[in-house]
Amino acid sequence: MEIQIPTPLRTYTGKQASVQVEGATVSDALASLTAAYPDLKKHLFTDEGKIRSFVNLYLNDDDVRYLPAKEATAVSAKDSLTIIPSIAGGRTLGTN
């Protein structure tokens, strides 16, 4: 299936805007993504392995958080996972 990578995270996927991965569920697909691009892991997941709360995951047009099975939701090759981080377009935090 396809995972769409938002601009701020494309530095960690060799500038690719979308990546093809294998996986039976949302979790598997993400594991496949971070296995291929390890630098992405700390930006997407906390040390305990939970998805960071400034990152939203959408399976097609639905927020994964609100799906009945959440990250355990089954996916197929024609599904698309989109990662949406928060952006504020402007000053870097803590600098001028």
Binding site: F54, S86, I87
Partner: protein, 400 residues
């Protein structure tokens, strides 16, 4: 006896002949009409920020006939703003943005009442400022203010927050904080850690992008006032200007949201700097000679070292396209993103003095910390970066 609708209609302000001529193209639209135009005149909208997003936003609200427009901005017009902040002109460089913006808006529509709030929006003043407005359009450039505006809108009795944000060539838009809709925290319960998402200054932005997104915010504001169409409540619009693609994702109100959920824990405005992980600036930090254990050197000190023939390794951690704009002779380029992977190559300088610079001193500080952690013994950061070098030492170089 007048019905409720008739009573509301009777309280709407009248339009004079000049206004009727001005708004004729609105008046002949069934979705607006005379009554809709009166609603626009009765409306009070607060525009937070008169920069990239605020420029088109404020312009179109003025054109549409909003009755009262509040402007919040404390910044000054800089040359680099003119690539996208089209409400300001070359003659305005150095002037307060709020004055520049108010002038142009007044020229476009003298019927509109402009209220200037030349201040930073903070927890101390936000509730007081927002209380006089019906809708808040957020055109700010940092996460702290995003959360502040959101919380203030919810806590002010659910004033709609017309949200827009941008990064490079991607944008987002939505309407938050309505009574039954989600708020910003429903989407993003927590901000990203400082430094993870670069600013426009560090990451760059396609000038047209805030133009696209700002007008979307103005559109949503107008739709809310008129009560027409489908506002972006419970929806997140994603814009990709490079592909010219628009996607709408579903947003839900989070019943556990600390601000707008069924059992809110945030019932007044908080310290947003702390929430976003920004430590308060210590007074001595402005001219600090050491930051987080890394000595900061001035560009005059760097020049002195060079002229005295001192031996050191000058590392430039900017991107190749920046290196093309300006560079310091004798520097070696290793972009910040490659520093970690090139530690092996850089190791030959481990015991040498390593002086690091970038554009303005932020990225080079990050690189310095990385090298120090990797065991480099003498690492220092050039405060002010190559822009300070170009301003103070070598004016033949451009600043950017």
């Amino acid at each position: 006896m007048a019905t409720a609708t008739e009573e509301i209609k009777a309280t709407l302000p009248d339009l004079n002949n000049d206004e009727i001529a001005r708004y004729s193209r609105h008046l002949i639209l069934p979705e607006v009409g005379l009554e809709g135009q009166k609603k626009l005149k009765a409306a009070k909208v607060l525009c937070v920020g008169t920069g990239g997003l605020g420029s088109p936003l404020a312009f179109y609200l003025a054109a549409a006939g909003i009755g009262t427009l509040g402007l919040v901005d404390f910044d000054v017009v800089d040359k680099s703003n003119l690539q996208r902040q089209i409400i300001h002109s070359t003659a305005d460089v150095g002037r307060p943005k709020i004055d520049s913006a108010a002038e142009k808006l007044s020229a476009l529509n003298p019927h509109m009442k402009i209220v200037k709030h030349e201040t930073m929006l903070t927890s101390a003043n936000a509730m007081e400022i927002i209380k006089d407005y019906d809708i808040v359009a957020d055109g700010t450039d940092n996460f702290q203010t995003r959360y502040l505006v959101n919380d203030a809108c919810v806590l002010s009795g659910n004033k709609p927050n017309a949200y827009g944000s941008i990064f490079r060539f991607e944008g987002q838009a939505s309407v938050f904080a309505t009574k039954d809709g989600p708020c910003y925290r429903c989407l993003y319960p927590e901000p990203p850690p400082p430094g993870l998402v670069p600013s426009c200054a560090e990451g760059g932005v396609l000038g047209i992008l805030p133009g696209l997104v700002g007008v979307i915010q103005a559109t949503e504001t107008i739709k809310l006032i008129l009560g027409v169409g489908e506002p972006l409540i419970g929806k997140l619009l994603l814009v990709d200007a490079l592909n010219m693609s628009f996607r709408t994702l579903k947003l839900r109100k989070n019943p556990d949201c600390p601000v707008c959920g069924t059992h809110p824990t945030v019932t007044k405005l908080i310290d947003y700097d702390q929430f976003c992980g920004i430590a308060p600036a210590k007074p001595e930090e402005a001219t600090a000679t050491v930051k987080d254990g890394i000595p900061q050197i001035s560009v005059s000190e760097l020049k002195r070292k060079r002229d005295a023939g001192e031996k050191f390794f000058l590392l430039d951690v900017r991107e190749p396209y920046e290196y093309e704009i300006s560079k310091i002779k004798g520097s070696t380029l290793v972009p910040l993103g490659d520093v970690a992977s090139k530690l092996g190559e850089l190791a030959k300088h481990k015991d040498e003095e390593v002086v690091i610079h970038c554009r303005s001193g932020a990225r080079s500080q990050t690189a310095a910390l990385q090298l120090k952690e990797a065991g480099f013994k003498h690492v220092s950061n050039v405060a002010g970066g190559i822009n300070a070098w170009a301003t103070e030492i070598d004016p033949s170089l451009p600043t950017y």
